[in-house]
Symmetry: D2
Subunit: 423 residues, 4 copies
């Protein structure tokens, strides 16, 4: 089931109960992410790329209102006509949008009003779901809306983290999460032979949801390569920093070099040093001594690419990443290659930059109407990240998932898995 599908048909009552349960669970989780925060924390915007948590809470609700209630509710009338503009993120097909960089100025509606907006839309979705009429397209759009909301749940964490990092008091977001990592094993390589592979969401094997950009499944040829079995650690990245990696133009893309020079970038986004031997990192727990065993994170593509070059490796293509991860996930058969290391930290640690620009798969067709703007219109000047991070909500990771950000984005939990060409 992908973003754009709009089949009709009978939907089993038992299925409805499951959808309602999942809906409640995901929607509740968003609100829960705001609990450690004040009303003020939820309203501020630290940069145009990031949004206030309150805005995320409202926008994810707007998505259900605009793409489901507005289409399927009888006698639909908007919760508040102004919200159609205020909480539209980027859908030109829906109409006007509040300027992105001014989201932090929306002190009204208040957080309470937004929570009450959520409540009202939740009730109306529930009513729709338990009403008569053709439920199939509604159920599909609810799934889409929930996956959309899960994407925003990750952004809520990373956007709040960025906001708090800008505060000289360096407050913690939530200290309940464990942070320390065990010492990593030595870096090892998992090799993959050349051949034609299938890339993209496999609707036959995986019956779950996917976004339109993961389709259509298609063939690619991969030359022989090897993939690192784990992510690069802070300790390894620190060596790059200390060896002058940020002062050596031969390691950098030309545009990346201009960027780090003009911005004065000398280390990962959240690192800070009193002196060269005492590094700290801003985390969800506030400032902490740099954990050398943890995966290096909050790296731009430019930094990931330069690091790889410094160790005579490279970033994987997204096809290489997907193919290796898929193969590693399959039970080793009788012809299994012996001695291949297991892939670690594929999901749940850091997103992994690939060398691939974000582009449509051969035969890609976005959904019709405004919802077709979801993914397709960003296929330029972005790089694909694969895997998922510690901020990704449960149930939102899969091998075919394509995350994407510009080469300078650093506020996500983005790290490095190396690759190298063989043969």
């Amino acid at each position: 089931m992908t973003l754009q599908a709009t089949q009709t048909g009978f939907v089993e009552p038992s299925l409805i109960a499951g959808v309602q349960e999942r809906f409640d669970e995901v929607r509740r989780h968003s609100v829960k992410l705001g609990e450690p925060l004040s009303e003020e924390d939820c309203c501020a915007q630290s940069m145009p790329d990031a949004s206030p948590l309150k805005w995320h809470l409202a926008h994810t609700t707007w998505f259900f209102e605009t793409f489901i209630l507005e289409r399927y509710e009888r006698n639909f009338s908007p919760s508040n006509p102004a919200f159609r503009v205020l909480f539209n993120s980027y859908y030109n097909g829906v109409g006007e949008k509040h300027p992105r960089a001014q989201r932090g100025l929306l002190t009204r509606p208040s957080l309470d009003e937004v929570l009450s907006y959520r409540h009202q839309v939740d009730n109306r979705i529930a009513a729709l779901l338990h009403g008569d009429g053709d439920l199939a397209p509604i159920v599909q759009l609810i799934h889409l809306g929930l996956h959309h909301e899960q994407q925003h749940q990750e952004l809520m964490v990373t956007d709040v983290m960025h906001l708090l990092s800008m505060n000289p008091l360096k407050p913690a977001y939530d200290t309940r999460l464990p942070l320390r990592h065990a010492a990593p094993p030595p870096l090892a390589w998992r090799s993959v032979e050349s051949g034609v592979v299938h890339i993209g969401h496999d609707a036959v094997v995986q019956d779950g949801f996917c976004f339109d950009n993961e389709t259509p499944r298609h063939r690619q040829f991969v030359e022989p390569f090897a993939l690192a079995q784990r992510l690069i650690t802070n300790g390894e990245y620190l060596q790059f920093v200390q060896a002058g990696g940020y002062e050596n133009p031969s390691l950098w893309m030309s545009e990346g070099w201009e960027w780090i020079r003009s911005q004065g970038i000398r280390h990962p986004l959240y690192w800070q040093s009193a002196d060269e031997n005492r590094w700290q990192e801003f985390t969800l727990h506030g400032m902490q001594p740099l954990d050398l065993a943890a995966p290096a994170s909050h790296l731009s593509w430019f930094e990931a690419d330069a690091y790889a070059r410094s160790v005579e490796a490279r970033l994987p293509t997204e096809a290489e990443w997907e193919c290796a991860v898929t193969q590693a996930a399959q039970p080793a058969g009788p012809n299994a290659q012996g001695g291949q290391p297991d892939l670690q930290q594929v999901f749940g640690a850091c997103w992994q930059w690939t060398s691939s620009s974000y582009a449509p798969y051969p035969g890609f067709a976005p959904a019709g109407g405004a919802i077709g703007e979801y993914n397709g219109k960003f296929m330029c000047n972005q790089h694909v990240l694969r895997g998922s991070s510690c901020a990704t909500p449960a149930g939102h990771s899969r091998a075919s998932y394509r995350n994407f950000f510009p080469a300078t984005a650093r506020w996500q939990f983005s790290g490095i898995r190396l690759a190298k060409s063989l043969g």
Copy 2:
């Protein structure tokens, strides 16, 4: 008593009680200004020039802590060492400052913490005031701090007004204030003869407070001129708009013309029109039909200057303004010029742009130390405004007061009183 004075000497106990009373009153008023607002409203910053209300509440407290407690309290220890940087506005002599454009990101300390900071400093000031030791310099600095706080009270209103104006919901700040104005009398002119006049705060006649920039009192020669008896109204300014004032370069300073073209400015800051015949204005009550009788307000110096040129008049110099206002305030003696109109709207309506650049008076000397940065270092590329506005707190207006803003500032209650040369 001016900003820089630091005499010592015995202070009457009865005076102390008065100081304490005034202190309590001014400090209470600041908090009161936040009452119609939410925690979020108090945290957001709509542009670098404006500050969050919470920041104003903290900074005015920082002023007392830094310039009084730190100097005069025995065993001084800061409320919170981080506040010294966070709430320093522009005093390089005090040390580092939090970047001005990032004040809206300070979701911590919370509003409650700031209110409690205020409470604590208030108590410590009270203890100091009722302790032994040389109270004279302390009382002087308290007065300075209270006048400083009153300046910020005006900014709290204008900064919040700007924030709310940026919200598409156009919320009201406080609807208790009356807004409608009576129809104004026809424009009339009060003439003043040429001669040497005394300009600046007159410590002999007025025993009250003044800022250092109002001193020293000195002589200026004024050529004969006339000053309009009232401010230009919205109705009059609307004629300028409708007659193409914003499309006619011959009315504008070269820099002003470039500015209105590049910014697309076609009317006063808070005006808005559905069509040419139905104008609205954003006010402290939210959007309202344009009140033609009210003084035109929220005008830049460029607009005020262009308007004056369009009616073949000009803006007064600050010496002309002060001289005319001072003469008009004196009882008409036996040689009084008959038939001169009384000056109206001198205080309490809109600040009045003058043609004078903000510059030191002959013999001006700022206070020593960081407090000398209060006024002197802004004497470049600013124009003086005289009078006071509806947002100026009671007791903060006087004829020698010199307000100042760059030629493009529009978010203050700034209007137009015309002048013309005679003879």
Copy 3:
């Protein structure tokens, strides 16, 4: 023979004569490009992306001096030590560079001095080529330098064209070139079946030069597709303009839409209209009535991509382009697909934007040292263009050639060849 190769070995004397002849010819052609221009025309720089013709003449000479004379000439001494910095384009490995945006301020050295610099270096290269020692690496670097110079010859034309276009007098560069195009045939499609194809420079079949970015030759899988037999014409593109293509966000990449809105872009770079029915285009002949039969040119990637979407097609990947062009070039064998149209305008009309981001081929390794900066460090945020244009010098086109520019670049002769997925 690729950019990075540095074999040694004996070089046949007859080969040397050929190299010298080609050297003279290419070098002469650069100077010839400046002939229709004044000293002033050759000095000005119209935007940071473009360089003055005089600078191109000096930089291409610097290339020979720095990468050949400095390495291989006995007792090398620089023509002028300042030139090492002044005429370094982007080689960090060579050292400092004169700021790119200030190339137009280099009124010294004069054009005459630059021509004399060329003459001097040409003589020294000739001496080296006819001296003893190991000539193999020198010959290779000369070939590289000549291909480098040919790239700059194209830029000389496009950069001068841009400069002249900024002049309200709209002067012609050279009216000797024919401009009019014959009416094009109806658009037809050449289809290609799916399969593994070989992409990249084939050193076995083509013994000529290639840049490092065309290697290594490797395999890719292409899904079935079809490629348009000719380029989109001005007439066809005009329909897109007149149908509101620039006002319809659903046709554009999100970043492209923001870009055309913020820049006010409504038509190709050099088009101009008095009214909607009388379009002109600035050409090498100056302003001319828009030639509807000519290929649409000076388009950004964003415009090419939007146009393709508007006709329900897409841009080809570079692999598709190369594969189709290679197949079309081969003699039709006994199993030839009947009725396939011949590909037209592959070379010599306009460069053709592909959907492919510029990225290293699997196994790509740039040359060592500063010369490795030639191509590799630009592999980010650029799109590949294939083919060649009317400004490309003779002998500088081949099927594996990878030109690249950012998605907003418009001053090259860049056009559209459509593709579509099949099956």
Copy 4:
């Protein structure tokens, strides 16, 4: 005779000859200023504030064509209709203007064509001057045009100097001018008593030309002050640099401090140091060892103001400057104050920044029509400079002359004459 006067009346034939002679002389001098330069040097523009020498040559000619020939020539037809836009500097009343920052892109018309434009207009002016009709207004406008051209002659030198300074080769403009200065006398002060003084061009005593901004003559009151008898030297300014003047915020205007920090300014525009003890200065002779006896030059108002503060002095107001200079020029009468030092370097060394913002004199009225834009529309955010510089042409200096530039302008020969308040 001021800019705006337009009397009519009979003009003596002998006067005509004198006008023609002066016309020829001034016009010839402009061309002479370009003689040490190449065609390229005359075309380039180093920053938006500066213009190419060729542009100055054309614009000063445009002035005569537009304001004289167009009005007074029978059957006027423009030399080239495009020039009306190309060479309009800032006269909105004349119509469109070529964008200021793109003057360096005007490689056409060529320098030869501009010289021929000059020749043609010169001939037509001469014909007009020797024709019949009312010559009085023509003669007046010719005088205005010549003074206008002399202003541009100063800019030709300073603009070319800036261009050459941007060239790493640091070429000399003209080495015929003497550069070395004799050791200056110790700083001494000339005091002036308080009183009402007359400021502005005195048409009775001085029968020569003045610009409209020097009128009307009017009264000002000056408090007692003293003026330094000479300018501050490089040696004195170097002490300021070495004592950390650029690192001490308490010496600077707030806006000036932000400006020097953000721009990295640490010394006068044309100074350069290999190490702290070996300073050089770029001059019209190219790079030279810093001449400690020469007046410090190429200073912004911010630097001049900060320097004055560092030595516990200040800049004079323009009234103080004019009054002191006028008094010093008068023969000492019987009541002469004994022992007052003579003022040196009043004219011909460096322009002297005053503390005065550029504002209209009381009763100022600009000329009607486009020519009224000459001065009046710049009376905002500029400071007045008095005196004249080594680049000012002969016959273009007078005590009432008001030059003006923004507080950040540094490319003029602008220096420091100190003042202090007395009594």
